[in-house]
């Protein structure tokens, strides 16, 4: 791998940038008077700032480096992550879900779950989320240090230390506001730092049409139709027709519906930015303001990948460095392009933008962690009823501890790669069903706390079982899936779990009804008897039969296909179980308590007095229309 030689001017730009980053934290310090300032920015930030931060919080390194890599590997189909995945979910969040998040005055997503459902649902979400954020922050730190080691020959420990210290200082001083302001700074760095890269690279290959020509042999050499790298929809009829190994249904449902809505609408990391807005109207506009640049980002992050693979192919595989297994190392796309097209000077700007994206990825996770830790774990379970100053103090120290754990994770990642894959896998299981819980909670007032909790648990188990029996092509059983060998075994386990679940559930149904009203013989008792006496034994019997019929596990054409389908299974399981358990349990919140938390019990936010460009619904429709046009242009 060719190394970058940064000149004095490049280092000057790098140092000035981080000077501004720390300076913003220092200026904001005097505004941090209470815990609400530190964790929620005092709900005082204008919509354009929260909007760009909303976008930028997700614009970490995995986005920039990963999307360019996908652009090289899969071509323009990568845009589905934006035009099918992110944008519709952001519009949905703005129009339908934001009124509940912002209007309920919940300080975090787990706190919303507590207000809407109960303590155990909040606890499950808060704890899994807190662990997840420190690990993601650690992975960002590790990736940055590795990249600096390869490109600049910087010492690994030095890179970890310097990135941890910079992030620590500016969050410790300025809390969420500092993170948000720096995310906006980073947004402009990325846009202004990478635009000349795209312009120069596109000019070099001779424009879009010449690029299309050059990508034809890339596709045909791998056995795909000529236009596969430049048509986003034509080659999605079957999973075998495109390099992603996914068909249109798995794409739209798995990525477009379950995964994207799950991420953009329920992940506190992004939702926290909108919660910091200065009014309901600004909170609802936040995701929409983010959606406008998000729509155009494929040009900035996917296009360089497509250009790189075209150059790589025509140079006979000599442009991109090779990974250990002999295939091109697509993760190096952006660094290689920077080295090729940027002279010293501009190189400093581009490289600073790249470093900034790693750090804001860390910072976003750290601010989400310290809020959830302080409000949802510390204040709820460990030390309730302390003064506000105490929680502000706790938030600062949670930042320090969170970063220290992240550093630990970064070293764990460098020592045992598998542990990190494993953790990300488990988080995937926990996250996949979440959106079903929120959807039912917000739009069906009958959903109960028990329903939400057991729905989430079943969805997580469903995801794990599905992963256990699915295997992407060419992978060995283990961390990639397939640890339950056959469909027979899977069905046996699934049916058995359901049998046990229905048995416990039916028994408790009868028990609860009887204890409320001895001698009752109503609907719930009958339902309970049906579960215990008929359905549960029947399922147990089927599970034994299934065990006798082993056959091959589900084979997927790609890991992505496997992930999308796992999400669909987890979501559906959670959705069905939540409905079933809710129907059978008593509501634990009255209509009065659910005001502001559920659609049918909440007054619609008034927007008539705002000009059209501030109306969420109007903006949302415009954003969706523009996205449809983009899909058609690159069909």
């Amino acid at each position: 791998m060719q190394q970058i030689h940064l000149g004095g001017i490049d280092y000057t730009i790098l140092v000035i940038y981080f000077g501004f980053v720390l300076g913003i934290g220092w200026v904001l310090k005097r505004y941090m008077k209470g815990s609400a300032d530190f964790f929620l920015s005092g709900r005082s930030i204008p919509a354009w700032v929260t909007g760009l931060a909303f976008l930028s919080a997700n614009l970490g390194a995995q986005e920039v480096i990963g999307m360019a890599a996908s652009g090289a590997k899969y071509g323009i189909m990568t845009s589905h992550f934006y035009w099918v995945g992110a944008i519709p979910a952001m519009v949905f969040l703005a129009i339908f879900m934001m009124p509940f998040y912002y209007g309920s005055k919940a300080r975090s997503v787990p706190e919303y779950l507590k207000l809407r459902f109960d303590e155990k649902t909040r606890g499950f979400n808060a704890i899994s989320f807190a662990i997840m954020t420190v690990f993601s922050s650690g992975i960002s730190m590790y990736a940055l240090a590795r990249l600096l080691e390869i490109l600049l020959n910087w010492n690994f420990h030095f890179s970890i230390a310097i990135s941890a210290i910079i992030v620590l200082i500016y969050i410790f001083l300025g809390g969420l506001t500092s993170a948000i302001y720096n995310e906006v700074l980073q947004f402009f760095m990325i846009v202004l730092g990478f635009t000349p890269l795209v312009i120069l690279a596109l000019k070099d290959v001779g424009g879009w049409h010449a690029l299309k020509e050059k990508l034809i042999p890339v596709a045909t050499s791998q056995g795909f139709a000529p236009g596969t790298w430049t048509d986003s929809w034509i080659h999605m009829n079957g999973a075998l027709d495109n390099p992603m190994g996914v068909g249109w249904f798995g794409m739209i449902m798995g990525l477009g519906f379950v995964l994207s809505f799950g991420y953009w609408c329920t992940d506190f990391l992004v939702v926290q930015r909108a919660m910091a807005a200065d009014s309901m109207s600004a909170a609802r506009r936040t995701p929409l303001i983010a959606a406008i640049p998000k729509m155009l980002f494929p040009a900035l992050v996917i296009l360089p990948g497509m250009i790189a693979v075209a150059i790589n192919f025509s140079s006979g595989n000599h442009f991109l460095p090779l990974a250990k297994d002999g295939t091109p190392d697509y993760n190096m796309t952006i660094p290689v392009m920077l080295i090729k097209y940027f002279p010293t000077g501009l190189l400093g700007l581009g490289f600073t933008a790249l470093m900034a994206s790693f750090m804001s990825g860390m910072a976003g996770n750290v601010t989400a962690f310290n809020t959830v830790w302080t409000y949802d774990i510390y204040q709820s379970y460990i030390a309730p009823g302390k003064s506000d100053t105490h929680y502000l103090w706790m938030g600062r120290w949670a930042t320090v501890v969170g970063i220290l754990i992240s550093v630990g994770c970064a070293y764990a990642a460098s020592a045992f790669n598998n542990i990190m894959d494993m953790l990300q896998l488990v988080f995937g299981f926990v996250n996949a069903p979440l959106f079903a819980t929120f959807l039912l909670g917000m739009f069906w007032k009958r959903t109960t706390g028990h329903g939400a909790f057991f729905g989430l648990i079943s969805g997580t188990i469903g995801a794990a079982l599905f992963h256990g029996m699915a295997l992407p092509q060419g992978a060995t059983p283990g961390i990639k899936g397939g640890w339950i060998i056959s469909i027979g075994e899977f069905a046996a386990i699934a049916l058995f779990v359901w049998a046990v679940f229905l048995c416990i559930f039916g028994t408790s149904l009868i028990y609860v009804s009887r204890s409320e009203n001895p001698g009752a013989n109503g609907f719930r008792i009958k339902l309970g008897k049906l579960f215990v006496q008929i359905l549960s034994p029947a399922l147990a019997f089927c599970s034994i039969i299934a065990l006798c019929h082993p056959n091959r596990g589900l084979l997927f054409h790609s890991e992505m296909g496997q992930n999308f389908w796992m999400a669909i299974v987890a979501w559906s399981t959670c959705f069905i179980v939540t409905i079933l358990v809710s129907l059978a349990t008593k509501r634990n919140k009255s209509d009065e308590e659910l005001k502001g938390l559920v659609y049918s019990l909440t007054a619609k936010p008034k927007t008539e007095n705002e000009p059209w460009y501030k109306q969420p619904v109007t903006l949302g429709i415009l954003v969706l229309l523009a996205t449809i046009v983009l899909n058609i242009i690159f069909w």
């Binding site: 001017i9 730009i13 202004l192 120069l200 940027f342 002279p343 000077g345």
Partner: protein, 73 residues
């Protein structure tokens, strides 16, 4: 919050723009542009773009600070 983010953005990009533009002017005949950016003096061009962007942000911030702010709640 009494702190307009457009000031730091504006100042930072004005500084970056000035640095790149001046460097571009002084290194105009250097062969770094042949080696990397297709013979284009991209430092000068992009430096000017950044300079204009930075000054525009500053102008917006100054204009906003001169207007009487919305009534404090």
């Amino acid at each position: 919050m009494n702190f307009d983010l457009r000031y730091p953005i504006g100042i930072m990009f004005t500084v970056f723009g000035a640095i790149l533009a001046v460097f571009g002017l002084t290194s105009g005949s250097s062969d770094i542009y042949q080696a990397h950016s297709l013979g284009i003096n991209i430092n000068l061009i992009w430096g000017i773009v950044l300079l204009v962007f930075g000054l525009f942000m500053l102008a917006l911030a100054v204009r906003a600070s001169k207007k009487p702010g919305p009534p404090k709640k």
